[in-house]
């Protein structure tokens, strides 16, 4: 079984002297270049991307610029970045592709409100429906035609059109788009055909959100925590969970709405669920007890079982051994790993931004395909999610010169830089690593990363508590050189986006990246895609024997991943990092003056959430 297709020859490599990442969706040229902007907005994780003649030239999430996590606004800054990167303005854009159809969504909202529907609610729903098109005009300044793409079609295209597969089976799973919560499709020659859909209220995403809120985590943010918590528990509540969510015929399944509150976006469950579970919901900040862990485990298993079953159904429906997954639920890397291992697909592609932020990529691909009439050369695989802004070493040098920060200049001395950083990591230092274009999607993949030695058992606790200020139970991921993958992990195909978990081999001795159940959510590093990061892994291997690093996103709890050097410096100052590598510059902690720390540490205090020590007993 192979995770992603091996035909990397189709990858478009950056041009000489640049680090830009490009993916051809369809290279059919017209008289002049065609610009399609994909937009996801007015929901969590707003984002924008730009296709130039079918080539994905830029993509970014709004939160990275606004510094508001999961920013739900119209992504004006992200759009501006994409245009700036391409050297064009909104005037030049041929189409905006919006990643949902507001009118359909309005209909669904009205349906949801039906029992209590009144005039005010109708007006509000209509106003929300108008808002997307209005804001594309009034906020983004776009004058041309707007094409709205069904949300799940956008998700499907975001996986298939960038997968590099000629054909594939596609499954999209999230809370809800317009009406659809899950879709089964087949992809061929750049187009996607839907086979079957599951409609609201039956939703795996809403089920998971309900459990997330029941466990006292924030919906659309804390789902990772439920997944991370699950291995600490036992599936003692699985039967009860199956009463809430269970399979149906074909691709269908049933979510019992007696237990789910469809109207409440923060507390997605009803009193009936409390009665069913027999313990009260956990309040935010409250200790995590055994019952919470069991609930997380049980919900996770129910979702895994269902996804495996439905992927089998899809396999039987579509004549393909390739699977594309997208939608918020496809961020569940544990489930993804099980689908791959237990299912019948030979290859699987999950985009780096499988959630709503990534839907803009799919919408743009669909619209580009419509505008060009399809056809054209085969798409190539999106090999790297580094589609965001970058800063040159010279720019960073100018920045540092205006500050009191003492930094060591390694411009033109990459070998020395790599050697120095590898030694620091081998010495147990925790490093902020800022290099190249910012990643698109929730994962830091070696461009805006915090790196550390995975062999040190205390590293997980140190980084969670002292650096990231988050719950101690949350696991960290390893980044491994692609060539050394099988030596440490039970996996034989590349996993560039950290979207799947696998077992860590016995005796691998990677305690800080091995979760309590012996799994790891790994990233494989291809030296052709990420040459500097690969060199760092090799240098670390030369010193320690391990081409593996702990890799976590460069941010603190509840903050977006850093974007600019200023963001990185501030995070470095506030977090307990030992050193910061800003492109070719190394800044050590003692390079910061006391006054600098006073000035930069200002802002709201970030404290580690309270979690019972019992959770860690099995660590």
């Amino acid at each position: 079984v192979c995770y992603v297709p091996g035909h990397s020859g189709a990858l478009l490599r950056p041009g000489a002297g640049t680090r830009s990442t490009s993916v051809v969706i369809n290279s059919q040229k017209k008289g002049r270049e065609m610009l399609v902007m994909g937009v996801s907005g007015l929901s969590h994780d707003a984002a924008a991307c730009l296709l130039r003649d079918g080539v994905l030239v830029a993509a970014a999430e709004e939160e990275r610029f606004s510094r508001k996590k999961h920013d739900p606004s119209m992504p004006k800054r992200a759009a501006q970045y994409c245009l700036r990167h391409a050297g064009v303005t909104m005037k030049d854009v041929d189409r905006i592709a919006y990643s949902e159809v507001p009118e359909k969504k309005m209909a669904r909202r009205l349906w949801t409100l039906l029992p209590n529907l009144n005039e005010e609610a109708c007006v509000r729903a209509c106003s929300k429906a108008r808002r997307a098109r209005e804001e594309i005009r009034t906020v983004l300044g776009y004058e041309g035609e707007i094409e709205c793409v069904d949300h799940h079609l956008a998700h499907a295209a975001s996986a298939f059109c960038y997968s590099g597969f000629d054909e594939a089976a596609i499954m999209t799973i999230d809370g809800v788009g317009e009406w659809v919560t899950t879709s089964y499709s087949s992809g061929c020659d750049g187009s996607v055909s839907t086979i079957e859909e599951v409609h609201l209220p039956h939703s795996i995403g809403l089920f998971y959100s309900a459990i997330t809120s029941y466990l006292g985590f924030e919906v659309n943010d804390g789902e990772y925590k439920v997944m991370g918590l699950a291995p600490y528990g036992a599936p003692k509540l699985k039967q009860k969970m199956e009463a809430v969510l269970h399979s149906g015929r074909g691709g269908q399944f049933v979510l019992d709405t007696r237990f789910i509150d469809l109207e409440n976006e923060e507390r997605c469950f009803t009193e009936e669920l409390i009665d069913l579970l027999g313990f009260r919901p956990r309040m935010r900040g409250e200790e995590i007890c055994d019952c919470h862990k069991h609930l997380a485990r049980s919900a996770q298993e129910v979702v895994e079982d269902l996804l495996i079953e439905k992927s089998q159904y899809l396999f039987n429906s579509v004549n393909s051994s390739n699977l594309c997954l997208a939608g918020g639920v496809a961020m569940n890397c544990v489930a993804n790993g099980k689908i791959l291992r237990n299912g019948r697909f030979r290859r699987m592609y999950v985009p780096a931004a499988a959630g709503d932020q990534g839907a803009c990529l799919g919408a743009a691909a669909v619209v580009h395909h419509r505008l060009t009439g399809g056809g054209g050369p085969k798409q190539s695989q999106l090999a790297d999610s580094a589609l965001g802004p970058e800063y040159s070493s010279d720019e960073i040098g100018q920045f540092i010169a205006a500050t009191s920060v003492r930094a060591e200049d390694f411009r033109g001395k990459e070998d020395q830089l790599i050697e120095t950083v590898a030694q620091m990591l081998a010495n147990g230092e925790v490093i902020g690593w800022f290099h190249g274009r910012m990643e698109f999607g929730p994962r830091a993949l070696g461009n805006r990363s915090i790196l550390a030695d995975p062999r040190d058992a205390r590293m997980q606790e140190r980084i969670n508590e002292a650096v990231k200020k988050r719950e101690r139970f949350r696991p960290f991921a390893p980044a491994v050189l692609e060539g050394a993958l099988t030596k440490y992990f039970e996996m034989d195909g590349p996993s560039p986006f950290m979207t799947v978990t696998c077992a860590v081999k016995t005796g691998a001795n990677l305690p800080s990246v091995t979760h309590v159940d012996g799994s790891a959510r790994l990233q494989t590093v291809d030296e052709k895609v990420k040459p500097r990061f690969a060199r760092l892994l090799k240098a670390f291997e030369a010193k320690t024997g391990y081409p593996v690093l702990l890799n976590t996103s460069f941010n603190m709890n509840n903050e977006p991943i850093v974007n600019s050097p200023a963001d990185a410096l501030r995070c470095f100052t506030r977090a307990g990092l030992d050193a910061l590598i800003l492109e070719d510059w190394i800044i050590k902690r003692d390079g910061l003056s006391a006054a600098w720390r006073t000035l930069c540490a200002a802002g709201p205090e970030i404290s580690t959430p309270v979690v019972s020590d019992s959770v860690y007993a099995s660590l």
Binding site: T89, K91, G141, G285, A402, T403, A595, W596, L599
Partner: protein, 746 residues
């Protein structure tokens, strides 16, 4: 050594005990603050009181125990609260919602315990707004004067190192001795009309022997018009002035508050002195863009033409005045025109006409449908005078006192730091007049105080220096003339030569693209925070979002510094050019650094909500920094709200000279414009885009203003200027780059 006055010691002990009980958190804060404030005025610091208490009855280790006890009590409270649903609830919040406490503003005590002091307990957002009075003890033998007022009373820009309460204390002590009178400062910056009335009621419990109320500037802002009534009048095509209905509102507000004062005065049998604020008539200029929102298209066009002529006549006051008269005749709702005329009318001996014109300009500001800088309008002043006279409230009329102090001249920068906030001279003057009235009322035979140099010099030079530094920032922020900004910078340096270096560093910190919190110069400034506490604010600049340097301020600093040290000034100019100078690559002029929307508050922070600048001003202003005189290439993507104005064009001006006119359309279109090198000066250039007049018919104007009022009503928010004016033009892109290398022969 602090004298051990038994009365103070008794009070201090009581205070310490009460404080621990009422607000242990506050007690702990005071302990820690006290460590930093050691040696300050023993009566002004709660810490000193605690120290005194400890000297008498508590050894050092016991005062530490008190602190520990406070911590323990505080912790117990916190634990207790965290067990309940709202884990973050503080004891302070608890107190605020409890019926068991008595409150005066932000000062609290247990109800029923008249021997307890009121302890300051301000919410985080209000901490800096209220007077620093840490506690108010029960009234003793001294006569008690309660001071209530707005930022003017707080001594904005001087506070907390000097303010009206301190001046009043000093003057009263000089007049009647230190043990005779105490001043209780309850002033609050931004205190609005409603808050004033509330605190007047609450403060009766303090048993004052006299009140001093120094307020009126903020009333226009807080007395918003009845939107429904305005809409109704507009629908009936009433004139703008009638629709705004400001006179009636002012009169009613004044009547209500003065009647309340009379009731208090009668009930407590105490005199009340109302200090009616003055205004910086000579040096303050209202924003040039403010106008009647119903100005018709034709008149609006003429108004713009005249305003442009007025700008060209800069420095020729008589000519400006003639143009201003034409503007005023065209449309009475333009404050800056009348202010210009007043300047012309203000002769060496002063002029009643100038005063009248300034008053009228102020009235116009109050009629605008959005908040303008605080001022007590002429109508408000006259209404106050009459109402106070009718209700036996004693008045200190600062407008008149200032004119008298200035020997008949219009009040200017000598008495005002900005539009209404007083210099130290102004504060002493206001309080000297107040003391005079108090002495008369109390029939005390002491001579009335006069403002002398000796008095003014009681304020430390560094305090003056810091106030002028703040004034430079405030004036630049309000788009006042460069000469005023420079004046305050010069004064800052004159009072404290250290400021020469610090202003240079501040200009650097402000000019660099690096966030302020990360700039090397900010660290040096922070090291001077002990002497100049204003720099401690840098600690709060931890954000790294868009930086918005004010080039007017930077230029003001540079020019002031140049008068003392040309090298430093060159250093500032070089930094500005290095950081912001245009190059062969395009510089985005729509970035917050270069887009001058500070004056045009209608466009404030447009980039927060839109990808393009939608201007409701007839002109959009930008700063263009050039390292030398060179041709500049502009790339402009813009549009106008409708394309029916075939004959109209967008005019691009640089440093007041028109460069080119381009026909603009309803849809985005890109234009390339070359600015000849001879138009460009090395350093900071001012570029203006003059938009064509939008075609909004009479009906459209009325409908637009009605819609704006409806928006204000719907959102229940403070109205912003933008909603009352039509869109003139929209900018999607404005980039500048160096066209060619400069001609060495030029």
């Amino acid at each position: 050594m602090i004298p051990l006055n038994p009365e103070i010691l008794n009070r201090a002990e009581t205070f310490a005990a009460q404080l621990i009980r009422v607000s242990p958190g506050r007690f702990r804060q005071l302990l820690s603050r006290g460590n930093r404030e050691e040696g300050s005025d023993p009566l002004s610091s709660a810490w000193s009181a605690l120290r005194l208490a400890s000297r008498r009855s508590l050894p050092d280790n016991q005062i530490k125990d008190l602190g520990r006890e406070a911590d323990a009590v505080d912790q117990t409270n916190r634990n207790s609260m965290s067990r309940h649903s709202n884990a973050s609830a503080s004891r302070e919040t608890d107190l605020a919602t409890s019926n068991a406490v008595q409150k005066v503003g932000v000062w609290w005590r247990d109800k029923g315990d008249d021997t307890a002091p009121f302890v300051r307990n301000a919410a985080p957002g209000e901490e800096e707004l209220w007077a620093r009075t840490e506690y108010i003890t029960p009234k003793g033998a001294k006569r008690r004067v309660v001071l209530i007022g707005e930022s003017v009373a707080r001594g904005f820009m001087y506070d907390s190192e000097f303010n009206c309460a301190m001046a009043l204390t000093e003057l009263m002590r000089s007049a009647v001795g230190s043990n005779e009178v105490e001043i209780v400062d309850l002033a609050k910056s931004g205190m609005d009309y409603g808050e004033l009335r509330r605190i007047l009621s609450e403060s009766e419990v303090l048993c004052p022997d006299a009140y001093v109320v120094f307020a009126g500037n903020n009333w226009q802002m807080s007395l918003r018009p009845d939107c429904e009534a305005v809409i109704e009048k507009l629908r009936h095509r009433d004139s703008w002035e009638d629709a705004a209905n400001s006179r009636e509102r002012t009169d009613n507000a004044v009547k209500s508050v003065v009647e309340q004062l009379r009731e208090i005065s009668e009930r407590l049998c105490v005199p009340i002195i109302f200090v009616i604020p003055g205004f910086n008539s000579k040096d303050w200029m209202s924003y040039r863009g403010w106008r009647d929102p119903l100005l018709s298209g034709v008149r609006s066009k003429e108004w713009r033409r005249l305003r442009s002529l007025n700008d060209q006549a800069q420095g020729h006051v008589p000519r400006q005045a003639v143009i201003a008269e034409a503007i005023a005749a065209l449309n009475g709702g333009v404050p800056f025109a009348l202010e210009t005329m007043a300047l012309a009318a203000n002769g060496p001996e002063g002029s009643a006409l100038a005063e009248r014109l300034i008053d009228e300009a102020g009235e116009m500001c109050t009629r605008l449908p959005f908040p303008t800088p605080a001022r007590c309008s002429a109508r408000c002043r006259s209404s106050l005078r009459e109402a106070c006279k009718r209700n036996a409230i004693i008045v200190v009329d600062m407008a008149r006192e200032c004119t008298a102090y200035m020997s008949g001249q219009l009040p200017d920068r000598r008495l005002f730091l900005d539009f209404c906030h007083l210099t130290a001279d102004g504060i002493w003057l206001a309080m000297a007049c107040t003391v005079k009235r108090l002495l008369e009322t109390w029939q005390l035979p002491q001579p009335s105080p006069v403002v002398t140099n000796e008095l003014v010099n009681k304020v430390a030079p560094r305090v003056h220096s810091q106030a002028h530094f703040k004034a430079a920032i405030v004036n630049a922020d309000r788009d006042q003339p460069l000469e005023i900004v420079k004046y305050h910078c010069l004064e800052a340096i004159r009072h404290s030569p250290d400021m020469l270096e610090l202003l240079t560093l501040f200009a650097e910190s402000h000019s660099r693209k690096v966030p302020i919190s990360m700039c090397r110069s900010s660290e040096v400034l922070l090291a001077h925070a002990e002497k100049f506490p204003v720099f401690s604010k840098l600690r709060e600049s931890g954000g790294i979002g868009d930086k918005r340097p004010n080039f007017l301020l930077i230029e003001g600093i540079s020019r002031a510094v140049a008068e003392f040290d040309g090298e430093r000034a060159t250093q500032i100019d070089n930094i500005v050019r290095a950081e912001h100078g245009i190059s062969d690559a395009e510089t985005d002029l729509l970035r917050s650094d270069y887009c001058d929307v500070i004056a045009a508050r209608s466009d404030w922070a447009w980039w927060e909500h839109s990808s393009f600048l939608s201007t409701r001003e007839p002109d959009s202003r930008f700063y263009l920094v050039c390292c030398e005189s060179c041709e500049v290439k502009l790339r402009l993507v813009c549009r106008v709200p409708n394309d029916t104005i075939e004959a109209e064009a967008l005019a691009v001006e640089i440093n007041g000279r028109e460069v080119q006119r381009v026909k603009v359309t309803k849809r985005w279109a890109q234009y390339q414009i070359t600015i000849p090198g001879e138009f460009v000066i090395p350093g900071i250039n001012k570029m203006t885009l003059q938009w064509p007049e939008p075609l909004v018919g009479e009906q459209g104007k009325w409908d637009g203003v009605v819609a704006a009022y409806q928006q204000v009503m719907a959102e229940d928010s403070a109205p912003t200027p933008s909603i009352f004016y039509p869109v003139y033009g929209e900018l999607l892109k404005l980039c500048a780059s160096r066209c060619i290398t400069p001609n060495p022969m030029r």
